[in-house]
Assembly symmetry: C2
């Protein structure tokens, strides 16, 4: 590369001012058509690269949106991201992604980075133990926040998510209608809002049917395939009739449970009923195909993205964030209790 191309080198070459070049490149109607064309051509020829740092220092808008999720490897969050990408791509925003892995320190450090880069806003599924003060502090520093999938009690920011309690209620009820009474709940016991809400849906359905919940049928705190696999083996290794149905915290757990049961010689969909949650793409091609609940994660992602863009653009009317209605997806993994 010879010398560095900037607005001023272009201006100099063309004998105009930097103001004119700046305006022309951004298609300002203030600039005469001929001038604009001439400038744009010169910029393209010279291989000019717009320096966003300089622009953002001046305008204090960075074009960066922060995105915080527990773990992008989890298809649930990946699908949220997908929704966000679809929506933000249109506005040519760039985003900075962080997997906080539910470590509040990681989250904090990343938020600090966002502030340093002058991010315009952040979409987050907050880490466990995020306080409303944490969120208020971000906003006080000029970083607007929108939540997705998880909510924080007391935080005054929009939240976009599915109705977890209702969805798990529906799927538990589906099992009860099939005739099950010994229904286990596996996974997600960690204290996220999602975990609490989903467990509450399960308990509400049992209560509604006058089924006494059994503590030892509620197992596992993680939300990975491996954890589902391990938990179900733990539950059934000694007592093959511990339960006739299993409500899983999410599809990943359920997939692990299907595999774990298979490894014990118990056939899901025949010997025992298993349900998932989220309806990730994979749940259609498990064997047996998984009965689950569509949770609208892509939709939540799109809503969150749209909301943050509106806030950034200074709109005050943020669309009403009512819960996304869950939908039951009955497939092959549920069956009546075995006689």
């Amino acid at each position: 590369m010879a010398r560095k191309i900037t607005l001023s080198t272009i201006a100099e070459d063309l004998g105009v001012s930097t103001a004119t070049v700046s305006l022309a490149l951004r298609d300002s109607p203030l600039v005469a058509d001929i001038t604009r064309e001439k400038i744009k051509e010169a910029a393209a020829d010279a291989g000019y690269i717009y320096n966003r740092r300089a622009a953002s220092l001046r305008t204090s808008r960075s074009g960066i949106v922060g995105l915080l999720v527990p773990d992008i490897m989890n298809p649930f969050f990946a699908e949220i991201l997908h929704g966000i990408e679809e929506e933000l791509g249109l506005d040519r925003q760039t985003f900075l992604l962080c997997n906080h892995r539910d470590k509040i320190e990681t989250q904090k450090h990343f938020v600090e980075t966002l502030l340093q880069f002058g991010a315009d806003g952040v979409i987050m599924s907050p880490a466990i133990d995020t306080s409303p003060q944490d969120i208020a502090a971000m906003e006080a520093n000029g970083l607007p926040v929108v939540l997705v999938a998880r909510w924080v009690q007391g935080a005054k920011v929009p939240v976009y998510r599915g109705d977890d309690k209702k969805g798990v209620y529906m799927v538990t009820n589906h099992l009860i209608e099939l005739g099950h009474t010994k229904i286990a709940f596996i996974g997600g016991k960690r204290v996220t809002s999602t975990g609490t809400d989903r467990l509450a849906g399960y308990l509400a359905a049992l209560e509604n049917a006058n089924i006494e919940p059994i503590e030892k049928l509620q197992l596992g705190s993680e939300r990975s395939r491996k954890s589902g696999y391990d938990s179900v083996r733990e539950m059934f290794q000694n007592d093959k009739e511990a339960a006739t149905a299993i409500v899983c915290f999410n599809d990943l757990i359920a997939i692990g449970v299907l595999n774990g049961l298979n490894s014990l010689g118990i056939k899901p969909g025949e010997d025992i009923a298993v349900t998932g949650y989220d309806d990730i793409a994979e749940s259609e091609i498990t064997s047996p195909a998984l009965t689950t609940v569509w949770n609208g994660q892509q939709k939540a992602g799109r809503q969150a993205a749209r909301a943050i863009m509106r806030i950034i653009k200074g709109e005050t009317e943020i669309e009403d964030n009512k819960l996304i209605e869950p939908e039951l997806r009955i497939r092959e993994s549920t069956c009546p209790p075995k006689k």
Copy 2:
């Protein structure tokens, strides 16, 4: 927030110069201990936020590393990312992530963004059809490049990846040693360097054993679970004895194949042998557990991260990038041909 806290407001409050504040906050030994302490305290009290855009405009180092992968939802790339994160976290680099989904336009647009932000370097698994000129252009614009997992013929930049050809050779050979001769290859036929290398390993093993490769036993171009599921059903729906063993392009395909076979009533690990590639975490808990090849993706990620940091720091001695040795992981999904 009252007024904005900057270096100059702190300097003013304390009656020192901005140069001193700047130096003090970065722990320069030039500043007297007492002065430094006083300044640091004042900055912390005021809730000072370092403005990286301003700093980076001045120093032309941004602290940003770009990361380009086809799709972060794919555990193979997620594990590479994990390795990179582990390594880069230490240097407090921030990174900008892009899923190019093998669209050269998406990749191009993202690289443009990196240039605008003044990224210090980029680690990439290039999209299909990336040319050596594309990479040369990035470097010419001051953006050093390191490749991971995939390579580009003719590009003069370091590459960190496993020996795909050798690994697939090993696993195909394992099947041949078990007595198989009708061995299919499913997935990955798209023209990535990985696809080409892996197919070559399969063909080399067949040739070495004097087995004639059969065109119609090479199926599927994608690398997803769903694609494996669909391909194997297509292959076996009409002819249940189309093959006695299947080499899959990767573990995801293999997982889809396991499910697809199950859905057809064919038992993998008993009726037919199936192998994966990559040894992602999930392959240990499939049923049956998957025979596969460890590909060292985390290691490749770490190597790539270390290399880009060295380049950024101006070191010229970049560690020699020899291929990572693959390792065969024999589990339950492979068996001799059924009599």
